[in-house]
């Protein structure tokens, strides 16, 4: 072990920790509970968050086979309301937000005028004239600022609701059963990517069937003062089903297995959605202008004529783990770069996502290796995701 390794290792989830202007870490409403549970905490985007409670592999496997409970209160909620809310979001974001029905949610992105991705978002339409935009913790301020700036001239209010919500997620095959024991809400009628207001364990909550794990699951937005009560009720209700508290470390391996992009790794301001293979989120057919339309139109044409690097999956033959930034090689030639890598608890092998030249992107392409600190380790190119749950 090196002198600095313990400090350096703490979390390589990628988004660089951005300490608040005062230099102090922010704490969620569940902070004391995490400490009582013996969590290993880490600085994540200026928040002191649970990395893991015990073994991250056990937590990962619990979500795949039973259920896991996450504190995601660091995520950034922004409420957009008013008669012009839909028009504002259609202008500010690349998706067709006016077309989202009340009670449903959509995965979308906010781009710069040059088409670069500022953040990826989930937008919930809570009512005809009310939306909740959920941004990544590391980008919450950037997204808020952009929405406020882009709201000029629209009959809509953009409200910073980051302090208004705690966010708990219950993920895994047992999660519907656990939640059903605590709510009268119609969970069977709640589709994937939908949300409805309800009561869970006596606590008013926005219940959303969303998540970032590749499993069925729910995200519960509640007032911070109700977070501890809800956490404890979920823990108790989930005990028999094998629910365990889970930290951000296993959240990262779960999303990686599910092939889901992470901002700062697969997405950045230097990539357009077309470069990231997510051009489908850009809805040119929607009415009116939107920020980035011109640049994205060009990016789409460019991608058509001269395909950019392709995001692929890589599975190791050996045991060494590729990390973000490592070169992907064939022969002596660099053909791409790792964006995320980790040992996959489900596959039992190291896996990675990487952007590679299109000529080497087909599943099964021979001769592909990852340069792991000077050693070229053989990797198999596979289609994403690595893991898809059985429905």
């Amino acid at each position: 072990m090196g002198r600095n390794d313990l400090a350096r290792h703490a979390l390589c989830l990628g988004r660089r920790p951005t300490v608040s202007s005062t230099g102090e870490l922010r704490h969620t409403a569940l902070d004391a509970l995490h400490r009582a549970l013996g969590a290993t905490m880490t600085d994540f985007a200026g928040w002191d968050m649970p990395l893991r409670y015990g073994s991250e592999r056990d937590e990962h496997n619990a979500v795949r086979t039973k259920a896991g409970l996450f504190d995601l209160s660091h995520m950034g909620e922004i409420t957009v309301t008013g008669p012009g809310a839909a028009a504002l979001l259609d202008h500010a974001l690349v998706g067709n937000i006016g077309g989202v029905k009340p009670g449903r949610a959509r995965y979308t992105m906010i781009c710069q005028a040059d088409g670069g991705i500022l953040d990826d978002l989930i937008v919930y339409r809570l009512a005809e004239q009310e939306y909740m935009v959920v941004a990544n913790a590391s980008n919450a301020q950037v997204v808020l600022d952009a929405l406020v700036e882009r709201s000029v001239g629209f009959d809509a209010e953009v409200r910073d609701d980051r302090d208004a919500y705690a966010l708990l997620a219950v993920q895994g095959p047992e999660s519907p059963g656990i939640l059903k024991s605590l709510t009268d809400a119609d969970l069977d009628g709640l589709k994937y990517y939908a949300g409805l207001p309800g009561t869970v364990a006596g606590v008013p909550a926005l219940i959303a069937r969303t998540g970032y794990t590749g499993e069925d699951g729910f995200e519960l937005f509640v007032k911070p003062e109700h977070a501890v009560e809800l956490w404890q009720a979920l823990t108790k209700a989930g005990e028999a089903a094998g629910l365990v508290p889970c930290g951000l470390s296993c959240r990262d391996t779960l999303r990686l297995e599910a092939g889901m992009p992470l901002y700062g790794h697969e997405l950045s301001t230097s990539l357009t959605p077309f470069d990231a293979g997510l051009g489908r989120v850009v809805k040119f057919e929607k009415e009116g202008d939107f920020v980035g339309r011109e640049a994205l139109t060009e990016a789409a044409a460019r991608a058509e004529q001269n395909p950019p690097r392709v995001l692929v999956g890589l599975v190791a033959e050996g045991r060494r783990v590729p990390r973000a930034g490592y070169p992907v090689v064939t022969g002596g030639e660099v053909i791409g770069e790792i964006t995320s890598g980790a040992p996959s608890p489900t596959l039992g092998k190291p896996i990675a996502m990487a952007y590679v030249d299109p000529a080497h992107a087909a599943p099964g392409t021979p001769g592909v290796a990852v340069d792991i600190r000077g050693s070229h380790e053989p990797y198999e190119v596979v289609a994403l995701p690595f893991y898809k749950r059985q429905k």
Partner: protein, 125 residues
């Protein structure tokens, strides 16, 4: 966690056993193993390699990170723990026992190795 009294410790979070016969066993501490998280790959020096105190001699890879392994003493590697190569989780489950890493016939050791109590205080700070 408790650090065995009969061992000595480096500030790089290795432990080493006493060397009556001139051979020390080396591993990483429970504190270090906990901080790393699940260890998934270890690269150890080879038998016959010369290692130098304070210099890199291998790698420990966990779910989230990779860390260099340093030798706390100078000497020649006499044995490596093949069990831990085959099952790196031993570093987590038994850092002071089955998770030992390698043995060195010691020729020189630095003067700043810590006692269990000193290391406990150091790693708590």
């Amino acid at each position: 966690m408790s650090n065995p009294n009969e061992l000595r410790y480096s500030k790089e979070h290795e432990w080493l056993s006493g060397a009556q016969d001139g051979v020390s066993t080396i591993g990483i501490t429970e504190h270090a193993a906990n901080a790393l998280g699940d260890v998934v790959f270890v690269q150890l020096p080879e038998v016959g390699d010369a290692v130098s105190a304070g210099e890199t001699c291998g790698e420990l890879e966990s779910t989230k990170s990779v860390s260099d392994l340093y030798s706390p003493v100078s000497g020649e590697v006499t044995e490596v723990n093949e069990d831990v190569v085959n099952d790196p989780s031993l570093v987590n489950s038994a850092p002071f026992e089955g998770g030992w890493l390698f043995k060195v016939r010691v020729t020189d050791e630095p003067g700043d190795l810590l006692s269990a109590d000193e290391y406990t205080a150091f790693s708590a700070g």
